[in-house]
């Protein structure tokens, strides 16, 4: 097992290295940030001075080497736009995004898993139909539209929740719902189809035939096995939500990393973009590694061994 974890960690490092190269390349392709940092009418000499100060005059590979050597020591440089350490800015805003993502995912799970399972159990009933429609809506509704709709109805219309910002627990409800809607639909579908597949298995039929009560069959035998792929989905969803929170954060003025990232990209704030991608990629890799380990805990049949040669 330790060998497996070790190998996965090494793989992760490889992934992160690859990500850093790609992001570095992409971000430098977007163009020169100096002109966006200075007023339109700035003189050429001021622009040249700024470029030199920001280290943009060196050849690309020198800039990358400098970036990498500092990054491994945790120094991602100063954000061009904010003139603050990039990591500091990220750690200031990451909690807000994690909060939002956790709330969105939590909400999605609490609603979608029971719904999906019930839909599977009561297949082709009215409940199942309602669930299907819900899933369709959840996946079809644009996040942007849903967010504004929720604000119009629940903030302006009913006045139950604030329209924007991050003041209190109440501020979390609308953004979490908006963010979680798409995941809710996906998770419900997965839960339903996973459950249906398990219910069709021989061992379930056997259990039923052996006279075990339906309740016990459902929860002890079926659900337990259906949970396994669901746990993998949770890991992936977390990663997707982490990235997709951008739109939700913008609509609700939620001070998270997503908004920071979009601003950084439009301002061509190289250090900040690189730092954000590095941090989020690391987070994603770690979470998926953890999920894979939880996988073995859930299903004792699964053991990570070196493939036989």
């Amino acid at each position: 097992m330790l060998g497996y974890v070790g190998r996965r960690l090494l793989q992760s490092l490889g992934v992160l290295f690859g990500v850093s190269v790609i992001v570095f390349g992409l971000v430098h392709l977007t163009g020169d940030p100096t002109r966006l940092l200075l007023p339109l009418e700035a003189r050429e000499e001021d622009v040249r001075q700024m470029r030199a100060l920001l280290g943009l005059d060196d050849p690309l590979w020198v800039q990358y080497a400098r970036f990498l050597s500092r990054a491994v020591r945790g120094d991602f440089g100063l954000s061009f736009k904010h003139q603050l350490p990039a990591l500091t800015l990220i750690f200031q805003t990451l909690p807000a995004t994690l909060q939002l993502t956790a709330a969105g995912l939590g909400l999605a799970l609490v609603v979608a898993v029971p719904a999906g399972i019930l839909a599977a159990l009561k297949r082709n009933s009215v409940l199942d139909a309602v669930c299907s429609v819900g899933v369709l809506l959840g996946q079809a509704m644009p996040v942007y539209w849903l967010g504004l709709l929720l604000i119009m109805v629940f903030a302006v219309g009913l006045g139950w929740f604030p329209a924007a910002g991050r003041d209190s627990l109440a501020s979390l409800v609308l953004p979490a719902t908006t963010l979680g809607a798409f995941s809710m639909a996906r998770i419900a579908r997965m839960a339903r189809s996973g459950m249906l597949e398990v219910l069709a298995q021989d061992y379930v039929r056997t259990a039923r035939a052996a006279g075990i009560r339906a309740f016990v069959v459902t929860y002890k035998y079926a659900l337990k096995n259906a949970a396994i792929p669901l746990v993998t989905i949770i890991g992936l969803e977390f990663g997707i939500l982490l990235g997709g929170a951008v739109i939700t954060e913008t609509i609700f003025a939620w001070p998270g990393v997503g908004r920071l990232a979009v601003d950084a990209i439009f301002s061509r704030d190289y250090p900040l973009v690189q730092a954000i991608v590095a941090v989020l990629a690391t987070l994603f890799v770690v979470i998926n590694l953890v999920i894979d380990l939880v996988y073995t805990y859930l299903d004792p049949r699964i053991v990570y061994v070196r493939s036989a040669r």
Partner: protein, 507 residues
Amino acid sequence: MLRAIRSVAMILAILAATAGVGLAARAQAWAAGERDVTIAQGIDAEFLDVQMTNNIVTMIINGSIYDTLLTRDKQLQIVPHLATSYKLVGEKVWEVKLRQGVKFHNGEPFDAGAVKFSFERINRADFKSPQKGWFGTLERVEIVDPSTVLFHTKVPDPAMPARMTLMYQMAPKYIGQAGDVQANLKPVGTGPFKFVEWQKNERIVVEANDAHWTGKPAVRRATWRPIPELGARIAALQTGQADLIVNVPPDQVPALATSRSVRIEKTPSCRIISFAIAQIKGGPLADKRVRQALNHAVDMQGILDAVLLGNGKRLNSWMPPNVWGHDPSIPFYEYNPKKAKELLAAAGQTNLTLTIQAPNGRWAMDKDIAQAVAGQLSENGIKTNVKVIGEWGAYVRTILDHKTEDIAMSGWCLPSLEPDHWVTPNLKTGEPVSQYSNPEVDKLMEQARAEMNPDKRKQLYSHLLRVIRDEAPYIFGYQQMDIYGVNNRLKWTPRGDESIRLTEIGF
């Protein structure tokens, strides 16, 4: 099965804890007092070190914490502020007398040393300030006594008073001890409000500085919130979460105007929008008659009424009335398709095809106005289409590289409100933003820039603007309307320089 439940339960618990932590602690809703205001703009302040920015939103927020040497009153006239008087004592020397008894928020005194320090800081080679160009004519600051300084300029500079309205005063001892990074995170100024806290992208809170030399502010505490999404910003106004919001688009005005708790306030902005004709490209556009024809072929007022619902005021030349130097007697180009055709025929250009480039979302209804202009030109015999360049960085690139389409939608406003800053960057040969070149006009600009006598200077600008109008380097457009949404419990009217001053808010 227990394992599965335990795992899922653990995951949910972790999620709940992550979500709840910190927020429960903040549940203490900001006890908004009766004399507190919340102002929602579109973005957060970039810096709270005012010398690091040239962004209008950032400067508005910083303007509550820092003071300038001179300032502009509600009518945009230059009046004393931290400097009580200024006068020319030599062709290139200004004597400035400073207000006595003023202290920075940390207790250190404001004096001539602070003025010298503030100027030299911007010009430090390692200080990344976008304001260097604003004071490019100032060579050095000489201290005469603690309340008198001399400004030595490199050339005769009649714009020095305008520049002094942008000279924010920094605290030398504080910055010397705390450093530049701290000066940005915990700003210290002489302003009517003191810094309380800054949560990035969330809020900036300032509280009244009752010891300020202008007196006790009516507002006790102000919160600046960035709400980028327009729908959410308007909703925040309607729910009372924000008391004042900016950049309400014209089409939202009717809805808010009927509300009982909020109202719309608007004012013609210093920001002007026009369509720059790339005369430097040569060809048909180098012919003045063609450019004049384009102006006659567009019914600008009609477009403003239809697209902006009247929220725009036509320009008679390249300067709004908000800027000193503007001449209201210069005639507008009248909508006259017949005259346009005649001019084109005289120039031998009866089969013209043009492209207009426009951004998307940079200014209110920008793309739509460009399309309306293109539509009208096409109706009047000049086949025109629109190229939308959505990303602002790329749009700016075309302008700075002088590789724009035939016509480029352009906007302009500088907080100095100094006439030379309107004409030179946009129309002088070789300037970064200029798509026009005319040595005669260059000479007129240089003359007006250097004239020290205000009356003579005004005449020179009148003449220059008339020539510009005649030369038609633009399809002259309009002055934007700054449209604000205000809660009715506030007594406030907007300014013509895009600024919001907390000291101008009452109840």
